[in-house]
């Protein structure tokens, strides 16, 4: 019986057919609870993420992951963490470790585009289910993804900036990056942002400029950058840096839109310096990532490969912190 189901051979084709017929007939479904009980197996999930200390955002992801881990521990799920610092060398080092590590599933945040593609190509031969969170590598459609559609989030940002404004507008796209600039989400958002204005011909009176700063060179912020600027789009979670500068220098009437509910961002949102934040629900992402692997491996269900987190628009008026 189980020899047929598990295709372990040792059975005559004739018998296989006979049993399969009966399985069809009675609509037999294997009881996963009993199966896993008999298997008595631990499921090891590798977690491949940036260090949570680096950013509050990743801390939330971990929170969601741990919540799921606790909940699913009764099904034999065990997590093994592989953190890396926010740079390529550290990323590659961890990648190597994971290649050697034996596990049943992988949760992965492909921050660095090129290197992630490379890593996944190599990881493919292990034939282990992978779920990406935060950023998606869309060409890798054999893998699952939990996170936002970055392009659309940029597009929405465009809409929000143009909100009820008909007059001349000068828009600044403010890029504050770490070492690497090529993180995929980030670029997709900017692409989506521009797309919104391309799709709306009536908005020709909008003018764009871009500024790029490295994380290490925040002190290069200057008043000149904001000359004549009405709106600032920060395509990552660093909107608070712009907000802080504007507040300090008493520049008013500039609309800011950014991402993620970091403490600092919320602070300036409540002060009215930041106008919009798009929330990515990082905790949900983490939870749902683990949930995907659980469904895939423990329950052996086929699940939707792509789970887009809603583009949640947070204004001062609809931010209600979870108590």
């Amino acid at each position: 019986m189980d020899r047929i189901i598990h295709k372990r051979g040792q059975v005559a084709q004739e018998t296989v057919d006979k049993v399969n017929a009966i399985i069809e007939e009675f609509g037999y479904k294997r009881n996963i609870m009993a199966s896993n009980l008999a298997l008595n197996k631990k499921f090891h999930f590798a977690i491949f993420l940036p260090k949570s200390e680096t950013l509050e955002y990743w801390k939330s992801q971990i929170d969601g992951i741990e919540k799921a881990a606790l909940e699913f521990s009764k099904f034999g799920i065990v997590l093994d963490y592989f953190f890396y610092d926010y740079n390529l060398a550290s990323f590659k080092e961890s990648a190597k470790k994971i290649m050697q590590f034996e596990c049943d599933g992988l949760l992965f945040a492909p921050i660095f585009y090129e290197e992630s593609v490379q890593f996944l190509d190599e990881y493919k031969k292990k034939n282990i289910p992978v779920v990406m969170i935060d950023s998606n590598i869309s060409e890798k459609n054999e893998y699952a993804y939990v996170g936002q559609n970055a392009f659309q989030s940029g597009y929405l940002a465009g809409r929000l900036i143009s909100f009820a404004v008909k007059n001349e507008r000068q828009i600044l796209i403010f890029k504050i990056t770490r070492e690497i600039e090529s993180t995929s989400v980030y670029l997709q958002r900017i692409k989506g942002f521009y797309s919104y204005f391309k799709d709306h011909d009536e908005l020709t009176n909008f003018k764009f400029s871009e500024v790029t700063l490295k994380d290490s060179g925040i002190d290069q912020l200057s008043m000149e950058m904001f000359l004549g600027v009405n709106s600032v789009f920060v395509p990552n979670s660093r909107a608070y840096i712009v907000a802080e500068f504007l507040e300090k220098n008493k520049i008013k009437g500039v609309r800011i839109i950014g991402f993620d509910l970091l403490k600092e961002n919320i602070e300036y949102l409540n002060k009215g310096v930041i106008d919009f934040l798009i929330n990515q629900r990082p905790e949900d992402q983490g939870y749902l990532g683990i949930n995907y692997l659980y469904k895939k491996l423990v329950l052996q269900e086929e699940t939707e490969k792509i789970h887009y987190i809603p583009l949640e628009i947070i204004l001062k008026e609809n931010y209600f912190p979870a108590k």
Copy 2:
């Protein structure tokens, strides 16, 4: 051993203590999979909702519920539906049936406030877990709730209406109800809506008026109702009715805000007649409702009693239908 855990008596206190000590010592956790396997029990969930034919919104709720049912059927979950027409008589009739029905959990949409309170009071003595969806009866905090915070959704609507508008404003609150007017969500939303303007003194130049129509009397819509009106707030899913009327009568420049992604609402959203819709994610509500009962009864976990669905603001530009 199990006699102690299940407190079935028949054990000397001395032995109980001894075993409990050892349980503590080794951190024993009962294996729910094995437990349920041995129990070999079916979990019956009663579903107490308005007929899904009445509204697309409830259809989505059912979709989510069925999705969950399919997924959890392997854990022995069986659903028993109790639908009622959108009126008190039918509601009470179904309520009676449910009172007599033997089940392990109840999913319930307390549409009619007074009667729901009454029903829940009576149902309490059955000592069966209940999860409410869509509307919350907040004083019944022994029960779980999945849905939005209705007050806050009205508050947000207020914010959206006042968006970037400094001039004089005439706001119409358009109530299209069925037989009963006292559905709780609906009133809470209006309360929240007014609250926004109360909290913001600078918005004194906003004027309000209200119109109430019964579902049966839509033909009473008239041009006069919209004289001088700049914005319309529809505190339920019937925004499309206002939109249709305005479009037919070529009244332009009126901002409409409503709830729920019904087909008709989406149609007018895409046409630009409706400006905002607040999505309640009915499918998620249904799914999460069942999910709560599953966690509570099958896994015997303690879960968050209240799960607020995000206030998802849908504009023409960020509506991306699930393909």
